[in-house]
Amino acid sequence: MPKVIGETKKSFVTGNETAAWACLAAGAEMMFGYPITPQNEIMHYWTRLAPKYGRGFLQTEDELSAGFTVCGSVQCGKKAFTATAGPGNVLMQEPFGMAEAMRLPMLAIIQQRGGPSSGTVVYSQQEVTLTTFGGNGEGMRIVYSTATHQEIYDYVIKGFNTAWKYRFPVFILGDGYQAKMREPMEMYDPEERGIEMVKTYPLIGLPGKITEGREPQHLCNIYSLEEELYEVVMKVAAEYESIQDQIVEYDEKNCDDADIIVVSHGVVSRAADDAVKILRAQGIKAGYFRPITLRPFPAKQLRAAIAKSGAKKLLIAESAYGQLDRLTKQEIFGETVKIENLFMPGVGIIDYDITSKVKSVL
């Protein structure tokens, strides 16, 4: 079998291709999926590449099945993943919930598109709420929001490791722009970079006999007794909270003396980064804060940034109508900093949008 990444070199690629190559490089064995824009090329490229590297693919009849087949595959110890968007993400909330309940190490790449409803294939950041807290559960999942193709590559590789180390479902949250746009990035073999890939392991069919040397796995998503459900949810919540500090990732710039901190995530944070540089050059004390993990959210770090800067305002900028805003507010409840918004659902945000807004509210 040929090596996936021969020499490390830069390639000119789309975000979707990057995701497919990253899954290959991370040693993913199987993709289950159903076509949906704007993630289609993840599947296209995976199906073109998988046979060359002895990997598998199954197109299921819909996203429900795609999600559940990933749930089944990872229980067998296979490094499996799926990719979807929009209404596909809605349908997959059911299997994602199963993955939360059964603590399954599944990975899903979400390329956000617009909503509400089904047919809007264009860019948006409107799947934040769905991806972080979708399903009839408590959002026991890990969501990395990427901003560049290099990050898609890096976080897909990291995401598989996070999933198999901690056994919570992991999401790589991109969007229609990241999916389709082209930019250079560097593909590498993770092992050659010193990144140890967490070994996969089966969750069923284990050696030994229950009661004779091994405990039952209890892969269960059905609890008929209220007290039992209470116990399970409290235990999972405690475990989730105990690993938060190891998982949380964020990026912060110019917050030490900021009068206003611009909070954004994903591709919008690229505009925010540029905007803060422009504002600083004009003598306006702006800071930049970007949660990389939306779940768990870097709440402590954002509170610390507010405290040390003494910022009077936060500006939350997103290509949605308040999804990051709600998430941020619930996470930093009690802070008295005034929160301003730049909501541009479905529309890309550029540096000018942010600099203009900052100037209008300062």
Binding site: S11, F12, T37, T120, V121, G176, K180, P184
Partner: protein, 233 residues
């Protein structure tokens, strides 16, 4: 000398009617080449129609920059926002004007979107296969992961079907260097030579005009402007 060895030459027709279809790997630069070629012909005073033939995701392609292209005087067959009616992926769409594109007077440049099917998509354009003027040009970028070795380029070209000539379009966006461009174009040329497919021209961004001069090549060079970054994807 950037390119050495035997060079297969291919002359783009400069007289009569020019009909060129740009095919190639997804994100290989088909739209850039098609736009630049159409503008070049228009600037020569020729009558030219540029056709966006992306049937899979017509709203992710030239739509965003349609207006600015029209403002440059280009006749463009492509969906505009006001012409679309909410169809996303609910059906492959063929613009009726695209189906009958060859009925336009003058030159026709076809941007065949969504690369994998290559020239097969041309079955949607009335009279394309029968046209003696049709030239199918494969755009290849040697930094794209599916076409970054000689063997991969050859494998890819075999999958693509009919290709009359190749456009060398190696670049790495704003991280391009003369070395990257050279090594990518060299491997494509080596593949093309082995398969007996001629090179139509080398596409170089305008900024390389002084740095990589025409004299360094044994092939025609077209200095191009990149429009697609304006389309975001």
């Amino acid at each position: 000398m950037i390119f050495t060895g035997e060079v297969l030459r291919f002359t783009l027709k400069q007289t009569d009617r020019i009909i060129e279809a740009y095919v190639g790997e997804y994100a290989s630069g088909k739209s850039e080449m098609a736009i630049n070629r159409a503008l070049e012909l228009k600037n020569q005073g020729r009558q030219v129609t540029l056709v966006d033939l992306d049937t899979v995701e017509p709203f992710y392609t030239l739509r965003i920059i349609k207006k600015s292209l029209q403002e440059m005087g280009l006749k463009l067959i492509s969906f505009a926002r006001e012409e679309s009616f909410g169809l996303g992926e609910t059906g492959a769409m063929l613009n009726p004007q695209a189906r009958w594109a060859l009925m336009n007077e003058g030159d026709v440049i076809l941007d065949i979107g969504y690369g994998v099917h290559g020239a097969k998509t041309l079955n949607l354009v009335e009279g394309a296969y029968e046209s003696p003027d049709l030239k199918i040009l494969a755009v290849i970028n040697g930094t794209r992961p599916m076409t970054d070795t000689q063997a991969k380029v050859q494998e890819y070209l075999r999958e693509l079907g009919r290709v009359d000539a190749i456009v060398l379009n190696t670049h790495l966006g704003d991280q391009s260097t003369p070395d990257i461009i050279k090594s990518g174009n060299d491997l494509i040329q080596a593949a093309a030579r082995e398969m007996g497919i001629p090179i139509a021209y080398v596409a170089l961004e305008e900024k390389w005009r002084e740095i990589i001069p025409v004299a360094d090549y044994q092939l025609p060079i077209k200095y191009i402007k990149r429009f697609m970054p304006g389309a975001i994807w």
